[in-house]
């Protein structure tokens, strides 16, 4: 697999875009249809709005930004490489100016060339359409504040300038942002044609720059991709050519049916987590088709800090003491797939290594040793919230319901009256973000947008990410601690990695003390593919790379 990738890199560096007929990256495994299946569609096709992992994975082979994360395995896939820009720029003006040069010769799938006007328009559009990450990721661009306040008239005046002759696009930031390049590489910053409507395109596809284009979309049935006729490979690591000719993404089967369909070879890959009751069968009979992969992700319980009973910090701490993280890892699939987590940050990042404040029998090693139900009950009594009614919102997948049932039992055992409300996965995630739905506590997972503690601490608990009344209020807890926020801002601004790590740790400790969420576990990714799938390439951020697998 790695040899093939290396071969691809050699080929691309030697004769970018030139390939022998019927071959992809020097391999004859070109052609066929890759058949994917998911419980439901990911919603809108707008790549600047959609924030579901279902479509972020798909968009990575459809669209390109100035920069991207390379489609290679391991930690190498978390660095930033040039994509539509011809190189990764160096910071200027103390990190306040970034100068990109647009690559020559790239075209959209409708045949039009990608220009600097498209780049400028795409960044303005990002604010106009209310991209979920507009404020959090791109709020440092000069003029972003005005764009956030008045999206329709967004110009990013003074924040972005372009020179069509030199093909340069220059960003000016109001403050240094140590993660600006990662944010430019994130899919919401993809480059779209300048005339793309300044509203959610919904089910209408936008021309692409990657190896595939969208040819049909029925969110209730299927999404079909075929080759982008205008695509000429410019970088094998940024955007390699695809092996398969077509990608068919079907919707409607539940996780159990998807598992059976992949076992029988009716589909090549399934999106959903594999049902717990099928893991034994999969491990015993289909081990060669399974891939256990590292993941920047965790499961957690966001608690609404602005609504009873979890507006009381003692109640939130009680939940953290009560949750049996080991039991929940068992419901997720056991120690092969999950590890108990007692921090808002997975252990691979700074902040994930702080001592667990909510454990039975604390020891100097700071590890979580088990739940402390007595202490949790005492905290609930002390908080005066005992006996209150709590509704737990979960997705209607079998794993979510299994874990949700456990959490409901736990909350009841510490003194609450609990209802569990399962919602369709496509609805649940926006539902739990919107304050109008008065959600008290939810069970959900979160995948990092890129490899940084900020994706967990700042994204999920940053003051700027709480938007009352919006479906895109990713700070579901409604939490805002200015001390923690200042530490996070300092961590984001600094380039000193040691100091940065220390700042993240300080922020993580404050957050855990305030307990706006109850972290549960960090997970590994279990992929299950059909027997005919070859060249399985897993990237840390967007998982299986659809353009790199072959089916014949």
């Amino acid at each position: 697999m790695c040899a093939i990738l290396a071969l691809g890199l050699v080929v691309s560096s030697g004769r970018a875009g030139a390939q022998a007929p019927g071959e992809t990256l020097g391999s004859p495994h070109r052609g066929g249809t890759l058949r994917l299946t998911a419980d439901s569609s990911g919603g809108t096709l707008d790549p600047q709005i959609n924030y579901t992992s279902t479509y972020l994975q798909l968009f990575s082979v459809l669209y390109d930004g100035l920069l991207t994360f390379p489609k290679v395995e391991g930690m190498a896939g978390t660095r930033v490489v040039a994509d539509l820009a011809d190189h990764v720029p160096e910071p200027e003006d103390g990190g306040r100016t970034w100068r990109f040069t647009l690559r020559q010769g790239v075209r959209f799938s409708d045949g039009r060339p990608v220009t600097t006007d498209d780049v400028v328009a795409s960044f303005r559009r990002l604010f106009k359409v209310g991209a979920p990450t507009a404020g959090a990721f791109y709020g440092a661009i000069v003029g972003a504040d005005a764009c956030l306040a008045h999206p329709a008239s967004c110009t990013l005046e003074g924040g972005i300038e372009a020179d069509p002759d030199s093909r340069q696009v220059i960003f000016h930031l109001s403050r240094p942002d140590g993660e600006f390049l990662q944010k430019i590489a994130f899919p919401h910053a993809v480059i779209l044609p300048a005339d793309t409507p300044a509203h959610d395109v919904g089910n209408q596809p936008v021309p692409t720059t990657g190896p595939y284009r969208i040819v049909s979309y029925d969110p209730n049935r299927a999404l079909t991709l075929d080759r982008n006729p205008a695509f000429r490979m410019w970088s094998a690591e940024a955007q390699p050519d695809g092996y398969v000719d077509h990608i068919l993404y079907s919707f409607g089967l539940d996780d159990e049916a998807e598992t059976t369909a992949v076992e029988n070879g009716h589909y090549d890959w399934m999106y959903e987590d594999k049902p717990q009751d099928r893991l034994g069968e999969l491990g015993a009979r289909y081990a060669s088709q399974l891939h256990i992969q590292p993941l920047f992700a965790f499961w957690y319980l966001p608690m609404n800090t602005r609504r009873a009973p979890f507006d009381n910090v003692l109640a939130r701490r009680a939940v953290n003491y009560a949750i049996d993280r080991r039991a929940l890892t068992m419901l997720y699939g056991g120690p092969a797939l999950a590890t108990p987590l007692c921090s808002m940050v997975p252990p691979v990042f700074p902040g994930g290594d702080i001592a667990c404040p909510y454990t039975r029998d604390p020891t100097p090693d700071g590890r979580w040793h088990g739940p402390d139900l007595e202490r949790a009950r005492a905290l609930v009594r002390q908080s005066g919230t005992a006996g209150q009614h709590v509704t737990l919102i979960v997705a209607n997948r079998s794993i979510d319901i299994g874990m949700g049932t456990y959490v409901r039992n736990t909350l009841e055992s510490i003194g609450y009256h609990v209802d569990m409300k399962p919602l369709n996965i496509a609805i649940q995630f926006p539902y739990i973000q919107n304050t109008n739905n008065h959600v008290q506590i939810a069970l959900t997972d979160w995948f990092a947008d890129y490899a940084s503690p900020s994706n967990f601490l700042d994204d999920l608990l940053g003051c700027e990410n709480f938007h009352p009344g919006s479906d895109s209020s990713i700070n579901m807890a409604g939490y805002c601690n200015q001390t923690a926020q200042d530490l996070m801002i300092r961590a984001l601004a600094t380039t000193d990695t040691v100091a940065q790590a220390d700042l993240w740790r300080q922020a993580a400790r404050i957050v855990m003390d305030d307990a706006p969420t109850a972290p549960i576990m960090s997970m590994r990714y279990l992929d299950f593919v059909s027997a005919r799938v070859g060249n399985y390439v897993y990237t840390m951020l967007y998982h299986l790379c659809f353009s790199r697998v072959w089916v014949q």
Binding site: D277, G280, D324, N409, P422
Partner: protein, 333 residues
């Protein structure tokens, strides 16, 4: 005057004697009594035998088997060490039938589930025959516009498939609860499935009662009573009701069986008994995900439903035979 001892036995005494001679009915009564008794013993089993709380997850728990502490969730035997399965039947007191995916004792849940299933089924059947009795007697006795209106309402209800009707009512009531004037029934209250099931079967019970009343309405003793100026209410209570009681009694076990099946179906669909409470339907749903590894979780409550429904149907047949006048006449002569 003849002495009372020389009076012929009344119809109820005849029916009871006939039923007592019917071995199948007696076995059915015995089976039902056993199921009810076992369900009533649920707390004793959970407390003194199983020593678990069947409503609390126990995924990380252990059970003592032959003096050894055994994890309730067992690692699957596969090279990737993927997944865990709940412990299977131990054949001993605790976890006699194994555990479900939440690590709960299936046997204890089966007994507790039986309490809810049997309670809902019998209460729904009782409520149904009361409502159907009122509708059938009023429609059959008064006839005319009253009969036309009530019969058309029953026809409309009959036209909707019973499960579709029940599911529609359940979705509304389970998501919002039920508010009648100052009274509110929360969504997890067992009254909700009881009321829903009772309502959907009213047309099925009301129709034969109405037919029987229409026949009685023109019988000589009713016409005589009317001719003597006896008020309608008195005729209904003294002449009609006693003569349709047999029909109602025969319907009761059959409706209970239907109610049990409907409750199980609704609970299986998560719109009947609400967690953490259990019924046989919810336990089958719990077992659905374990059907490959621990089939007993779904099979055990399924078997319980089959046994009770079979017993109720046999009992219903026995009652019908025992209470049918023509049948008893044939037997008597």
């Amino acid at each position: 005057m003849r002495s009372s001892s020389s009076l012929p036995p009344g119809p109820w005494a005849v029916a009871i004697r006939a039923l007592a001679r019917d071995r199948a009915s007696l076995v059915s009564v015995g089976v039902l009594a056993l199921m009810v008794l076992a369900s009533l013993m649920a707390p004793l089993y959970a407390r003194y035998v199983s020593r678990t709380d069947p409503f609390l997850s126990n995924v990380a728990g252990q059970v003592q088997i032959d003096g050894r502490a055994v994890d309730i969730m067992q690692p699957n035997d596969n090279p990737l060490h993927l997944g865990l399965s709940p412990i299977g039947p131990t054949g001993r007191g605790a976890y006699l039938l194994g555990a479900d995916s939440q690590g709960r004792d299936v046997a204890a849940r089966l007994l507790y589930g039986g309490r809810n299933s049997l309670l809902i089924a019998s209460a729904a059947a009782l409520l149904c025959v009361v409502m159907a009795g009122v509708v059938g007697i009023v429609a059959g006795f008064f006839g005319g516009v009253v009969d036309a209106v009530l019969s058309r309402i029953m026809d409309i209800m009959w036209a909707v498939p019973v499960y579709l009707f029940a599911i529609s009512l359940s979705i509304v009531m389970v998501s919002q609860g039920l508010t009648i004037g100052p009274f509110t029934i929360t969504s997890d209250n067992l009254l909700i499935p009881i009321v829903i099931i009772a309502i959907v079967y009213v047309p099925y019970a009301a129709r034969p009662i109405r037919g029987r009343v229409m026949a009685l309405r023109n019988s000589e003793f009713v016409l005589a009573a009317r001719g003597l100026g006896v008020p309608s209410a008195r005729i209904l209570l003294r002449d009609i009701l006693p003569n349709v009681t047999g029909t109602i009694v025969v319907l009761a076990p059959l409706l209970t069986a239907l109610a049990l099946l409907t409750e199980s179906a609704l609970s299986f669909l998560s719109i009947g008994v609400q967690a953490p409470a259990a019924s046989w339907g919810t336990i089958i749903q719990d077992g659905e995900g374990l059907i490959y590894t621990r089939p007993l979780v779904a099979v055990a409550p399924g078997l319980a439903i089959v046994i009770v429904v079979l017993a109720l149907n046999v009992l219903g047949d026995g009652l019908r035979d025992a209470l049918d006048v023509r049948e008893t006449s044939r037997r008597g002569h």
